[in-house]
Amino acid sequence: MSADLRTLERWMQAVIMHPEGAVAGIGSAPARKLVAAAARDPQSVVLPSKQLSSVERLEIYAYMYYARLIEILEEEYPTTRQLLGPHEFAVICRKFIARNPSRSRVLNRLSEKFPDFLARTLPKSHKSELAVDVARIERAMEDVFDAPKAEPMSAAQFAAIGADQWERVRLTVNPALRMLKLLFPANDYMQAVRAGRKPRIPRPRPTFVIVFRRGFQVLRRDQEAEQFRLLEALAAGRVLAAAVRAAIRGHSRSADRLAAMLGGWFREWAAAGIFVSTAD
C-alpha cells in the first residue's frame, strides 16, 4: 500500500534535509519511521529515470537545499566567511541549517540565530571570538536593512527640547538601530577587510558599535564606552536628564568639557538619525 500525501511529503523532507545527503536521509530513523520500505527499495517511492537512479534524483533536491541556503549565508556574512575560510564556513553553515531549518516563508530571517550558533559551536580561540563579533555586526546589518522606516528628528526638533523638559522627556530611537557590545575591535577589522586589506587578528579589546540606517544606507560606527551606555539608557526609555546624569557620574572633567562631550555625542546621533521622536 502506498503512503499517503502527508507521509510522502514528510518523508521527502526528512530525506533531503538530512545534512549528510539523501542516502543517509533515506536510512535515517525519521525517514524509516515514515516509509520503511524506502530504505530497502528507494524505487518503491521514487522512480528512476533512464539516466538517474531514485537516490540520485533525490540527491538533486538534497544538494540544492543546502547549496541555496549556504549561498544566502555567504551573501549575508562575507567577512565572517573570509575570516573562517570558505570551506570551514560552508561546513558550519551546513551544521547550522541542519539544526536550525527555516520556519519562515521569507529568507531574511534564516540566519537570525547564526551568530549565537557560532558562539556555541566554534572552538575557543581569538579568531573564533572575532568571527562571532563580526557575525553579530553582519547580522545587525541585515536586521537594519529590513527594519521599519522612521523619520529622524530634525535639528530644530532637538533644539525645541527646553531645559525644563529634561526631567520628563524620553527619546525614541530609530527602529533601524542595533547596538552591539563586542569583545574585539571587530568593526575596524571589517572595515580593513572591506577595503581589500588583510588585517591580522587583533588583540581582544571591548568595543561598542552601533549599526543604523540613514536613508537606505546601512552604516556602522564605533562609540565610546560612556557614549554607548548613554545611548543604551535612552534606548531603554530612561528619562533624558537621568540618563545623562548616570552617564557623566564620576567624571572628573570640567562642566564645560562635559557639556562639549555630550553636545558632540548628540550632534553625532542627530546627524545619524538615531532618534525619531520624544515622549513624556
Partner: protein, 300 residues
C-alpha cells in the same frame, strides 16, 4: 512613463491586434516583461527603460521596509507589476497560512498587482520551509488536496491564483497520472489560472523522458494568463532550472507553439543567476516579439 518605453508598447499594440480569444478571466496581455531584480533597481529608476511590465518575487518585499520596497514603490508607479511567489506551498499538507495570505494581499494592494501567483508544488511541512519547489505525487489524493487548497486561497484572496508548472527532478512511484494531466485538471476543477513556464516544460520533459509537445497540447489554454521563459543548465543526465542564461532554441520552438495555441499572453523572461546588464535582458526578451508577431517561425 519614460519615452524609451515607446518601442515596447508599440510591439504590444501590434500583438494585440491579432490576439485569439483571451483567458477566461479577461486578464490582459501585458506584453513583454522581465523579473525585477535588486541589481537593476538603480538603472530602472534612473533611466526608466523600455519594458512593458515587471514581475516580482513576492517574498522579497514582505517583512521588509527597507530599500527594496522604496524602489518597488517607484517602479510600480510607472510599470504594471505582477506578483509571483515561491513559498505559498499550495501542495503542502500543513494548514493554510492565512497570515501570509494577508501579507500577500497587502503587498498586492500596495503595488496594484495585475495578478498574483506561485507554483504547483509544496515547499515544506511540519512548519519548516525548504525554500525550494518540491513536486507533489500526481495522485487523485494529491489532486483533491490541491484543488481544495487553491479554492480556499482564491476565496481568501478574492482573485484567481496564477499557478506555475515547476521544473521537476523526480517522479513518485505513487503517481497515477502524467504531470500535464494533473495540471490541466487542477486548473479546470479548482478554476485557477496558469502560468505556463515553457522552460520548465522543457526541463521536466528532459528529466522524465516525456514529449514536451504532448505536454503542451494537454494544457487548457483558456486558463493560461502568463508565460515564463528562462535559461537552464544541461548536465547531460538531467537539466536544472538555473535561470542563468539565454533561452535555448528548443524552448523558443515550444514558445512559438504555445503562442500558436494561446495567442498573446503576458510573457516574462526570468534571469536570476549571473544576472547581466539590463540591456541584455531587454535584448533577450525582445526575441519573443518576433514569435508573437509571426515574423519568425521555427520548425515544430
Amino acid at each position: 512613463m519614460g519615452p524609451g518605453q515607446l518601442p515596447f508598447l508599440l510591439m504590444s499594440a501590434n500583438i494585440r491586434q491579432s490576439q485569439p480569444p483571451p483567458n477566461r478571466w479577461g486578464l490582459p496581455d501585458l506584453g513583454l516583461g522581465v523579473g525585477l531584480r535588486t541589481l537593476h533597481f538603480r538603472h530602472i529608476t534612473e533611466k526608466w527603460p523600455a519594458m512593458d511590465w515587471f514581475e516580482i518575487v513576492s517574498e522579497n518585499f514582505i517583512d521588509t521596509e527597507g530599500r527594496p520596497l522604496y524602489f518597488l514603490d517607484q517602479i510600480a508607479e510607472r510599470y504594471p507589476i505582477v506578483m509571483h511567489g515561491v513559498s505559498l506551498s499550495v501542495g503542502s499538507t500543513d494548514p493554510v497560512d492565512f497570515g501570509f495570505l494577508d501579507k500577500l494581499k497587502a503587498l498586492s494592494k500596495r503595488v496594484r498587482a495585475k495578478w498574483l501567483g506561485d507554483h504547483i508544488c509544496w515547499t515544506g511541512v511540519a512548519g519548516l520551509n525548504g525554500h525550494d519547489l518540491y513536486p507533489v505525487p500526481y495522485t487523485e489524493e494529491g489532486l483533491r488536496h490541491m484543488i481544495s487548497r487553491v479554492r480556499i486561497i482564491q476565496d481568501y484572496l478574492e482573485q484567481p491564483l496564477v499557478l506555475e508548472n515547476p521544473s521537476t527532478y523526480l517522479t513518485f512511484a505513487a503517481s497515477s497520472m502524467p504531470e500535464e494531466e494533473f495540471i490541466a485538471r487542477l486548473a479546470v476543477e479548482a478554476d485557477c489560472a496558469l502560468l505556463l513556464d515553457v522552460n520548465n516544460v522543457y526541463v521536466t520533459c528532459r528529466n522524465h523522458d516525456l514529449d514536451p509537445v504532448a505536454y503542451l497540447d494537454a494544457i487548457p489554454y483558456e486558463h493560461v494568463v502568463q508565460i515564463h521563459l528562462a535559461g537552464h543548465t544541461d548536465n547531460g543526465t538531467h537539466c536544472i532550472d538555473t535561470h542563468d542564461g539565454r533561452v535555448i532554441d528548443q524552448v523558443w520552438q515550444l514558445y512559438a507553439r504555445v503562442h500558436d495555441r494561446a495567442g498573446g499572453r503576458a510573457t516574462l523572461l526570468e534571469w536570476d543567476a549571473n544576472i547581466p546588464k539590463f540591456s541584455v535582458l531587454q535584448q533577450e526578451v525582445r526575441k519573443a516579439a518576433r514569435f508573437r508577431n509571426g515574423t519568425r517561425r521555427v520548425a515544430a
